[in-house]
Symmetry: C2
Subunit: 276 residues, 2 copies
Amino acid sequence: MAIRNLVVVGVGLIGGSLAAAVRAKGLAQRITGIEPNPQSASYALAQGLVDDIVDELPVDADFCALCVPSDLVGEWVLKLADHAATVIDVGSVKGPIVEAVQAAPSPVTNFIPCHPISGSEKSGPSAADAQLFESCAVVLTPLPQTDEQKLAQARELWQQLGTQIYLMSPAEHDQALAVTSHLPHLLAFAFMQQVSDVHTPLTGGGFRDFTRIAGANPELWWRILRLNKRSVMDSAERFVGDLGAIIEAIEHDNSAQGLAQLRHAAEKKAAEKKHE
Amino acid sequence: MAIRNLVVVGVGLIGGSLAAAVRAKGLAQRITGIEPNPQSASYALAQGLVDDIVDELPVDADFCALCVPSDLVGEWVLKLADHAATVIDVGSVKGPIVEAVQAAPSPVTNFIPCHPISGSEKSGPSAADAQLFESCAVVLTPLPQTDEQKLAQARELWQQLGTQIYLMSPAEHDQALAVTSHLPHLLAFAFMQQVSDVHTPLTGGGFRDFTRIAGANPELWWRILRLNKRSVMDSAERFVGDLGAIIEAIEHDNSAQGLAQLRHAAEKKAAEKKHE
């Protein structure tokens, strides 16, 4: 892997971590940042996450990682459609991005939609972590017209970063992530509403872990929930049904039904843990 | 603190951890176990968690910790009402235990209802951990007739184990724990119902933490949810209302309302983290 000039657009937690990981593995000769927030920009420069901060994609850029919020990706991709660089993003919702790109008058061939399933409730380049992508899953949802060589380059970058690559359609991705990520955040946000000062001293490790994601960036997550609206609503509806069934079992002292559901949950968790 | 013979009834995760912690701090001359499960009993003996396994509370026992499921505590307390030992329990639900004890024909004065808010999704004495209670909160809900000296002894034990003691009524405890512990478990159990093999590879740290408690012992948790039925139903109802409000905001693209709720959640989580 020899990237000449990797341009990271958006040097926050994910962009900063990507820059740090690429730097640590020596995968690029030069890393350039595009970052409108002056504090983030100067932090990234001072820490050596990037070699330079610029306003526009340099002509010599051969790889560009769009680490901006999902709803800003489409615009950037269209802007870079004629650039020679391989362009990837890291957005949590793929359907709307792909729809926006496919609506372009001429087919975009240099963009590979990506989603590294890794993150943190922290944000900003000061939380950047060169290890963030180590062993994480990355979903790629290539477009029918995606240039094969550029797809191979994107795969190689993620592979070199130590991730596990999965190829699927944008719809498959968005449905699965609604369950594994977006719904848990929604539930944690909803749960915190009734928590007050009287509860704070009476919490244990279970509470802390369960609510960790409620500390995630509200603006970012509101965007994600809205962008993946249809799949999030579907999984939320299934959840309300499943919760209602357990509540009904508690209400009517129906141990056969209630215990079956709790056991089902514990078995699934045990199966999932084997995978960890 | 000088306990002559601490008897631990139920040498599982909590009972085993209590024995290990008391041993590590040298708070008892002798630790005796009562454990009907032969595997747990022989493990506890072999590991030196207890000095002996017996069937009935010895006459010389001066402190007895009932580490049995909440719905078995009442019966044990009544059985030991005339014993000279100070008796505590560790049950997650206090109302039904106290009601059962207060229904006794003569007032029970040697029992202090306790709940150390510490645990693990693991169970059994092999998961015992001498550090389990370090810095955790313990709620004591003493009865009006509780012997002052025995209450002082119970407080001292928990203090020596490094816990933070809170005194409250059984109802206050059960309402608070419904929110901080029982509802999160219920939500995690309900959430896992729709998780399947297709989701397993696509999970990150958020999913793992959020669902950790879904791996808890189903039988134990079914008992807890039923015992604390009224408070659990109340907090589940509030949750469904709060969730519905966010879902409505997503459905109608109402960013003002949706963002306000997400920010509210993040602020509460930040306030709670300061306490950790």
